[in-house]
Amino acid sequence: MQEQDNVKLAERRAKLLQAAAKVGRGVTSILDQDLLLDQTVDIICDEFGFYYAGVFLIDETGEWAVLRSGRGKSGEAMIAAGHKLKVDGHSMIGVATGQRKALIALDVGEEPVHFKNPHLPDTRSEMALPLIVGDDVIGAVTVQSTAEAAFTEDDITVLQTMADQLAVAIRNAHLHTENQKLLARAERRARLLEAAAQVGRDVTSILELDKLLHKTVDIICDAYGFYYAGVFLVDESREWAVLRAGRGDAGASMIAKGHKLAIGGHSMIGASIEQRKARIALDVGEEPVHFKNPALPFTRSEMALPLIVGDRAIGAVTVQSIEEAAFSDEDVSSLQAMADHLAVAISNAQLLEELEAAHAELLRTKTFEALATSTLAAIHWIGNKALPISTSVDLLRDDLLSLSGVDPDLLASMQEDLDTIDDSASLIVSVQEHLIGPAREEKPRPAMIDDVVRDVAVSMDIPPNIVTYDVAPDLPLIVADTTQLARAFGYVFKNAMEATEDVEQPRIRVEIAPDEENDQYVAVRVIDNGPGIPAEEMEKIWAAFYTSKGVSHAGLGLSACVQIMKQTDGEISAADHPDDGAMFELKVPVYDGRLKSVELPSDRSILLIDDDDRWSQFVTEVLTEAGNKVERSIIELSGVGRFDLILVDNVLALADVKAALKRLKSAGVNDRTFVVASSLRVERTMALMPLGIRDIVLKPYTRADLKALLD
């Protein structure tokens, strides 16, 4: 009997050893830790015929043994429930891990240390084997049987051997996993560096700013696999970071809405620019500094990288991921390297843009200025030399008409040649006038700009049904040399008239209002319904001698406007109006001097020959207040002898000035008659002065100027 028992025992030992060896062989080649653990519990149960086996691993805190694999549905249920046992606690696993020893409970129903596990109600015997590698306990294996007294002390030795092999395999698998992670990180790092290098390579050769920025966001998203990237640049006020490029539809929509963030504000971009530091929000939902952007609802991680050139932050890059905790410290250093490349490239592109703008500005103003000033004498000389050409051409024309017996074709040809000579001479003479006029010294003074503009249109005989005005109420006075300003508006109106020559119902709309962007200016917009300005000509039109209107134009009108507006401290710009043709906008500075309180002469009888407009209302009100008797008329001129002073507006929409002056001369009151003009031109002066008027003077727009005239 004893011998039979010994044989059985030996057979059991041999079987256990075989099973242990099989477990050892089976597990040592498995490098995936989860697979290794699952296979281990299956092999143990299948080979040893146990009811249940499970593997616990000690967590990072070292306090808990967490069930990582368990046989069957019981195991799955416990893992799902996060089953764990306290290391060095009262459970068998707790003792095995805490005291580094295997232990057996043969009749588990009566064993006080046993945890009565509801998932494993049939367990009658249990063995807990520590998993030890070197000096470290990494976990424990539980083996359970439905048979009472299923394990002997000898079994412990055999199964501990298996557990030791398992522990080594687990450690190997763990190391393998760690190696894999390290490898993945190294690969990611290499990819990030490559992407940074690619950004560096690609962007430094792009000198067009918008193209550069859009290319950058695409490279970042494509190379790094991020959800979104965008580039913000600091605006001129240095108060805002303005989105200049953004990935995809979200970026396009935000740019269209003018998306901008306050520098130093609560946004990550605003903070990164102000602090000149990269900022990361790994779970942006909980990061208080994060701007909750409705256009990018899936962002879970965000990085903001400042774009720094020298010691100045010129903007920032935002990089966003749909994964939580998407960015590591290595990502920051790699992306910041990329951002540094980008900052230099942006700075270069900006410098180039500034250079181009400066060049364009030079083209707009300096060429004209240079022509108009340093070569003024030469232009004057050339113009003078061209003067006799027209006269001589006229003489030749007369000569041709008196010739007889000339071939009619030859005659026509000679007349055509004379026309060409005459046109060319007129052009040279007009160049002289275009250049000399704007170069004259400015005499800025306060003025009603709407009065100046309306006078220009009337003087040019622009039909009233073509031009309409939209004038804001309570316009402030502007400050400018009104003669020069009128010259500029003359060019702009001439342009508008020529642009609408072929339009069936030509329209010119004039809008005058305080400038919306800067209330220190009044903006005058002249909008025609012609074909507009082709985009390719938009910059060229300002250059001296550029014209798209053929050989009969000198191409100096708009460059003269630039010169005049520059001297006026104003601006001129052109654009295509969305609903009409070309739109020219002239911004003229508001008069910011103090209007003197002056005492005006009183007890005078004054006749005002003028339309009922803002200027005549101003003069009537001011002179009446001062105790004068003021009458306004444009037609009724009888009994004018009773007036002490007669003021005639140089431009009347509803009457003829020369006819009125002739009547005043007939009435013998011309010596008390002043013509007041918003701008003075010599032809007009010489047409009116010989009518015996006292003088023709600039129209007074302030009480002080009015007093000077009356005195």
């Binding site: 006269t391 001589s392 010599v682 002066t685």
Partner: protein, 136 residues
């Protein structure tokens, strides 16, 4: 008054010659001078000329050498004053290439009947004829 005597003073030879021809063809008797001194001398001589009589009208450039021979933008104005001292009824047309209001007004204040901007010669005959018609 097609046979009226006209004094034309301008230092630009070609301008002077082309205007002279224009006026001559219109039937005027034209004498020319290239500076203010020459112009004054011609005018004074004509006052003594019993055969042809004094000038009926003077056309003066403004910007030319003055009586001291120095280039002067107001040389013509000075000649204008001198001519009107000699004949206060003389119709004078001033010429200049400068489109400048104050100089024009000054010319009128000194007694000029008209101011003519060079380069618009086609209107010259009209101006001269108008002034001569008014003088008759």
């Amino acid at each position: 008054m097609a046979d009226a005597r006209i004094l034309l003073v301008d230092d630009e030879r070609l301008v002077r010659r082309s205007m002279e021809k224009t006026l001559f063809r219109a039937g005027f008797d034209v004498d020319t001078a290239e500076d203010v001194s020459g112009g004054l001398a011609l005018f004074e001589e004509a006052l003594e000329d019993e055969e042809e009589g004094p000038f009926d009208i003077a056309i003066l450039d403004l910007n030319m050498p003055n009586f001291e021979g120095v280039e002067d933008a107001n040389a013509g104005l000075k000649l204008l004053s001198k001519l009107l001292e000699l004949d206060d009824d003389l119709p004078v047309v001033v010429l200049t290439a400068f489109d400048e209001v104050e100089r024009a007004k000054e010319a009128v204040k000194r007694g000029a009947r008209a101011y003519f901007v060079k380069g618009r010669e086609a209107e010259l005959l009209d101006i001269v004829n108008d002034i001569l018609d008014e003088s008759e």
